[in-house]
Symmetry: C2
Subunit: 218 residues, 2 copies
């Protein structure tokens, strides 16, 4: 029982800090997106494609969350985008305080779009608000169409679903229509994109959606 | 600080119960394997293939752990193998107590091989001993070769690695040799299998390994 109480307090404290982060983002005109997924669904590849497409037109940065290693940060840094690395040392999700600390190292006056790449985990990050404008859940088509039903918390708390690796559709037993329907059953408001970071399919639509966000500095 | 202490106590309590489960398994001549992976790596498909292959020759059962839904339990039940469903209601891992309770519902005297299918999560289940003889980590080749480096806890605590969906090798950017090397760098004692539950490749080797375990009842 005491554990549940403490867990609630942890979440309350987290939400407080997340709210501070959210106010900061709003005041500084930064759109923050929290990228969540299973390990290997393609969050970093999606970022790479996004940087190729939007570099020069939108001022972007990344906060990279990893259990261990800075492999993703290195991949992203290749695109000349500012990267802050958070290594959770075994921790299964990012928390608002970690983001608040990381923000000290970013020049927000020179930033429009901040991607926060969460730890690869379809369960725990769902409950931790980081102050983002929206969670973007990335699912690989190879994971099967049942994932929204099996991990509903993440799909309920996300605003955008990116179905990635659609180039593999001919080779896997995944009913793409059922995947979309299952996701919309959990969260009818989900904005859904279908992408392949291998062929580039769908990247334009995703980037158009990003471009259409309001990046007017206050 | 108090949170860290409580977390340690939770793990200590868990380890105590896990040890009771382990003794029970040993006394009753049951080999228990804890299947862990990212969501959608193919744990349930591997079980289906295993049941097709071993049914009639080894007495098997499954404890199914899911955040939500009994979809996997239904798939497995098709093979006439006893299934106990645990729904964690948002919880990100199984704990030893949940297994202890589930064991009340299984006839251990009529059981040789127990599969525990954990929640799809490559982080949290790594730290929770359930009393299993071994953790078997399943990785889909579509997740990329860097996963052992990025989620080392799970690979360090596992005894067996099943690299699944190898039929997709021609279509994905995954260096299979590097994946094996990365896994062995984290845990040189890993026994590695390569499988495709789609073509059936490698299933014989995996099942031979299972058959070669000692199922002599005490």
């Amino acid at each position: 029982m005491s554990i549940i109480t403490i867990e609630r307090k942890v979440l309350e404290k987290n939400d407080e800090i997340a709210q501070r982060n959210r106010s900061l983002f709003r005041n500084r005109g930064v759109l923050a997106l929290n990228l969540v997924s299973s390990p290997g669904a393609g969050k970093t590849s999606l970022l790479e494609k996004t940087f190729q497409e939007l570099k020069g037109s939108i001022k972007m940065a990344v906060i990279e969350g990893d259990v261990q290693t800075d492999l993703d940060a290195k991949r992203v840094a290749n695109y000349g985008v500012p990267v802050i690395q958070i290594v959770t040392m075994g921790g299964c999700h990012l928390e608002a305080k970690l983001i608040e600390d990381a923000l000290q190292k970013l020049d927000l006056s020179n930033l429009e779009l901040l991607f926060i790449e969460n730890v690869g985990n379809l369960v725990c990050p769902a409950n931790y608000d980081l102050g983002e404008a929206a969670k973007v859940v990335v699912v690989s088509i190879t994971e099967g169409e049942d994932k929204p039903l099996k991990y509903p918390g993440m799909f309920r708390n996300s605003s955008v679903l990116v179905i990635n690796k659609i180039d593999l559709a001919p080779y896997v037993n995944c009913d793409l229509k059922a995947l979309r329907n299952n996701a919309l059953q959990i969260n009818p408001a989900l904005r859904i994109f279908e992408t392949s970071c291998y062929t580039g399919d769908g990247i334009q639509e995703w980037c158009k959606w990003l471009r259409d966000r309001d990046f007017a500095k206050p």
